[in-house]
Amino acid sequence: MVHNVKHMARANTALQLGEFEQLVLLALVRLGPDAYGATIRRDIEARTGRDLAISAVYVTLDRLETKGLVRSRVGEPTPQRGGRRRKHVTLLPEGRRAIAQACRAFQLMTEGLRLV
């Protein structure tokens, strides 16, 4: 019973990825296993032209981790960071599946449409 509820929740989250969650996941696909907050923020900013808050990236990463779509590990402190450590984020297979599903849905929906 409990397992069922959990499963349903998973299935739902996969379908209910927010727009910003999708962007973060796509950035993670592109950046590979060594991505972290700043690189994700910059990648999205550079591609979409949005002025992005780092806090928004962290809030989203946190949610994605709760949903089991990404995993994080802590790196070593570096001087450019004022001696602070870095938190690397890796896409989990579950996350890859979710974003693939979202993209597919998007493709299906946009096929043959002339929007502009």
Partner: protein, 870 residues
């Protein structure tokens, strides 16, 4: 390195680990952006990031991590605020009354203190203001008067000060303008600028050499005149202009902030060098005001000693008492008159703040008592006491914040509206701004009271057994009642003192307005015209001009009488000096003194000054006729007691030769203020003692202002180049002379009214509460046949009791503190029984009114219902 504050803000809402990663990312990018886009852009970007991190809406599990920890103090802030908002909205009356009470108390305190601060504490707007002093003739601030020109020169030679400057009022009409305009200004020593720290914005200041009579005429103009009349021409220096028919060279433009030394000086547009000689400014004319700068390390007392010693070393005039000098701090000369008024207002607003606090405490206590049962229930069902405390705290803080915001608004409005009141500039206020420290102080004070009394039930719940409150919470009179009664008594006492103050000030004002001024001044307007300049070189020219002014103005329909005077009553100026009496000798220091005024035939009639004995001046009293003089009753009483003054001969002794025969006696005028003591005065005719400048007094049978265009027209027809100035009606002069008193009365009166209102709500609250608690008892009484009237009496007795105790304390307070206000009173004693009785009556009536509605409600309850409920 990014801005420290921004770093702190960016990390504020994050748990420590998450904060490390986030700040690390930000710093990494900051470093990169600094190299590519520059430091400023990088900092801007960092700030934006920090603020967005601070304001982010979607929480993550890393945000505010203490939510997960045990019983955090602030974690329920959101829900507490929502709950408190709901509660406060449910009792809008309570919320409104508390907020308004707080706002009035905080706002009034802040506004009044802002005024006191601006007048008494704020540094004067000059360079190193503590080193600037005011050396004068006299022994203290009340009898100090100005310097003569020879004195100024001698005092400078003593070398007591770093620099000493003398200045005096001057004014001129500027030539070539379409409408003749009179510009106010001063003539001054060049050292004035270095003493006050004035630098020109264009051109240069004038030099000490240019003070001499022999040099070319130069003048400095105000920034305002520069913009107004010269289009802010940057090359204005060197431009030649005509002032009073004389050519002057503009050498520079003064900075915009410098238009006055004292706050009530008119804004100066022209500042010229002294250009005096001992001949045109002899030692008998003490007309100069001063400022001086102390030497470094020199104290005021030492300066005064040195100056006094030097003055005594001078060869003394055997006919005069030894010279006395006094050195005052600049501020002292400015605020001496108003200090008592300002401190009185500060005291009054202190009382108001106390009343506010008492009322607030009372309201909150009443609410707390009412909620005791609710809290007991919550505790009984297992609520955490800390949660209840934090919730009550939130409520108190929210009320205080709302009240504080209201207070800020009130204070801001008052400061904005009052900033330019003449009464305030006269009181020594250069620039009125909000006093933030006081605002914070009042908010904190009320906050403390709010917290203390708002949390009473929660704190009490800690000590008392919950079951007692659960059982009796709604019914039994509590210990808080005694405290509330005490608070109400205090409110009544303080209100009585404010009311008494307002009453005494009000009675003083009425007595002043009722005083015999010596003149009626009804429907009189006045202005001043000066013939200074080349076109009126001789005394005969002046007289001819003013004669035609009187002739032409008197032909205007609606003009009843026209006259001239050298000194107009209540216009802040006067001239006095020694007088000789034919056939009498006086030892030095006992020679007769009098106020000296030059007037014209028709002046006494225009001003409504009755001729007590003898006759008025006539048009025939000219230079070819025998010289005549009119004296005031005080002069007659002092020097001709018991004998007939008419026909005696005295000497005006001011630019007039020989003796003049007394032909008339007029009443003493309230010349310098309605509270003036009677001063001896003497009058001569303008046709026998010419002058170049006069006040014109016009008595009309229609509203005086309506004739002004016609008057202007007649003057223009005589000479379009002579501007009129200081146009005022007698009524406005009388009002202005009462300025400080009026302000005092208005402010204290307003405070008293607020106090009365608050005391009334206090009494109402307490009596209502008691009446509700005794509903059952009243029901039984009524059921047993008691008359309604007697039950009403029972309730009212409490209201009267509270009021009477408060009145007794208040009256004692008035009697004890009365001497403080004495200086501001006129014709009444601080213990004036009429005022005290009236004030007590008013308060008692208010108490009765406040107690009546609870009393009515008490008897309106149906005994049967009450008994059934019980």
């Amino acid at each position: 390195m990014p801005p420290r504050l921004a770093i702190w803000l960016a990390g504020l809402r994050w748990a420590s680990e998450e904060r490390e990663y986030l700040l690390g990312d930000l710093e990494e990018e900051f470093v990169e952006r600094t190299t590519h886009l520059g430091l400023a852009a990088a900092r801007r970007w960092y700030w934006r990031q920090a603020l967005r991190s601070l304001l982010m809406r979607r929480p993550s599990r890393f945000v505010q991590p203490h939510i997960q920890t045990e019983n955090p103090p602030m974690s329920h802030l959101g829900s507490d605020v929502r709950f408190a908002t709901r509660l406060l909205r449910r009792s809008p009356g309570f919320t409104a009354v508390v907020t308004l009470t707080l706002a009035l108390g905080i706002g009034a305190t802040t506004a009044i203190f802002s005024v006191v601060h601006a007048a008494l504490l704020k540094p004067l707007p000059f360079k190193d203001p503590q080193g600037i002093v005011n050396p004068l003739n006299g022994t203290n601030v009340t009898d100090a008067n100005g310097l003569s020109y020879p004195q100024l020169r001698r005092w400078r030679e003593y070398q007591v000060f770093d620099a000493l400057a003398g200045y005096f009022n001057w004014g001129a009409s500027i030539g070539g303008a379409a409408e003749a305009e009179y510009l106010q200004g001063i003539r001054t020593s060049a050292s004035l600028f270095s003493i006050l720290g004035v630098q020109p914005v264009v051109g240069r200041l004038f030099t000490e050499a240019e003070e001499s009579f022999a040099t070319e005429r130069v003048v400095l103009i105000s920034e305002s005149l520069w913009r107004r009349a010269f289009n802010a021409d940057p090359n204005i220096h060197g431009r030649r202009i005509v002032l009073n028919d004389q050519p002057f060279t503009i050498v520079g433009v003064l900075p915009g902030w410098f238009r006055r030394v004292r706050p009530n000086d008119p804004g100066w547009d022209l500042v010229g060098p002294l250009r005096l000689t001992e001949k045109n400014a002899p030692a008998s004319l003490r007309f100069m005001r001063t400022v001086a700068r102390l030497k470094p390390e020199q104290s005021l007392a030492v300066a005064q000693e040195q100056l006094q010693a030097a003055a005594l070393r001078e060869a003394p005039d055997a006919n005069l008492p030894p010279p006395r000098v006094v050195v005052l701090p600049l501020r002292e000369g400015i605020v001496s008159d108003s200090r008592a008024v300002l401190l009185g207002l500060l005291g009054a607003v202190g009382f108001l703040l106390l009343i506010t606090c008492a009322n607030l405490a009372n309201l909150l206590l009443a609410r707390a008592i009412g909620r005791r049962r609710e809290i007991a229930v919550r505790l009984a069902v297992g609520a955490d006491r800390r949660r209840i405390v934090s919730q009550l705290l939130t409520e108190s803080v929210m009320l205080s914040v709302a009240g504080g915001a209201g207070g800020l608004l009130i204070a801001w409005l008052v400061v904005r509206a009052a900033g330019s009141l003449p009464a305030l500039t006269a009181a020594g206020v250069y620039d009125l701004t909000l006093s933030w420290p006081v605002l914070v102080f009042s908010v904190l004070l009320t906050l403390a009271i709010g917290v203390l009394f708002g949390m009473a039930p929660a704190l009490r719940a800690g000590s008392a057994p919950v079951t007692a409150d659960l059982r009796d919470g709604t019914r039994v009179a509590a210990g808080g009642d005694r405290l509330r009664q005490g608070l109400v008594v205090g409110e009544v006492a303080l209100t009585l003192m404010l009311l008494a103050g307002a009453g005494l000030l009000g009675r003083s004002l009425m007595k002043l307005l009722d005083v015999d001024k010596g003149f009626s001044g009804e429907s009189v307007m006045t202005f001043r015209v000066s013939t200074a300049g080349n076109r009126y070189p001789a005394a005969a020219d002046w007289t001819r001009y003013f004669e035609s002014v009187m002739d032409r103005v008197s032909t205007i329909a609606g003009v009843e009488a026209v006259g001239l005077t050298s000194e107009f009553p209540l216009a802040d100026s006067d001239t006095n000096g020694g007088v000789l009496i034919d056939g009498r000798e006086f030892p030095p220091g006992e020679r007769p003194m009098a106020q000296k005024r030059i007037v014209s035939p028709g002046y006494f009639a225009a001003m409504g000054i009755p001729i007590r004995r003898g006759r008025d001046f006539l048009r025939t009293d000219t230079t070819t006729a025998p010289p005549v003089i009119v004296i005031s009753e005080a002069f007659a009483a002092r020097w001709f007691a018991g004998e007939e003054a008419i026909g005696k001969r005295i000497a005006f002794n001011w630019d007039m030769d020989g003796f003049q025969t007394i032909v008339g006696v007029v009443p003493d005028l309230k010349h310098n203020g309605l509270d003036d003591p009677p001063t001896p005065a003497i009058y001569v005719s303008f046709a026998q003692r010419a002058d170049s400048s006069f006040h014109v007094a016009i008595k009309t049978s229609v509203p005086p202002e309506s004739l002004m265009p016609a008057v202007r027209g007649e003057l223009k027809a005589i000479d379009p180049n002579l501007p009129i100035r200081g146009l005022r009606t007698m009524d406005t002069l009388i009002t202005a002379s009462l300025g400080a008193r009026r302000l005092s009365l208005d402010v204290v009166g307003a405070f008293a009214a607020i106090g009365l209102l608050l005391a009334a709500t206090g009494i109402f609250g307490v009596v209502n509460h008691t009446a509700q608690q005794r509903t059952r008892e009243f029901g039984i009484r009524l059921a047993l046949g008691a008359e309604r009237r007697s039950v009403i009496g029972l309730v009212m007795r409490q209201a009267i009791g509270l009021a009477v105790v408060g009145l007794a304390i208040g009256v004692a307070g008035v009697l004890a503190l009365g001497s403080i206000i004495r200086a501001q009173l006129f014709g009444v004693e601080p213990s004036d029984p009429v005022t005290l009785a009236a004030v007590c009556g008013a308060l008692l009536a208010t108490a009765l009114l406040a107690g009546y509605s609870p009393a009515r409600r008490a008897v309106r309850t149906n005994p049967a219902n009450v008994l059934r409920e019980g």
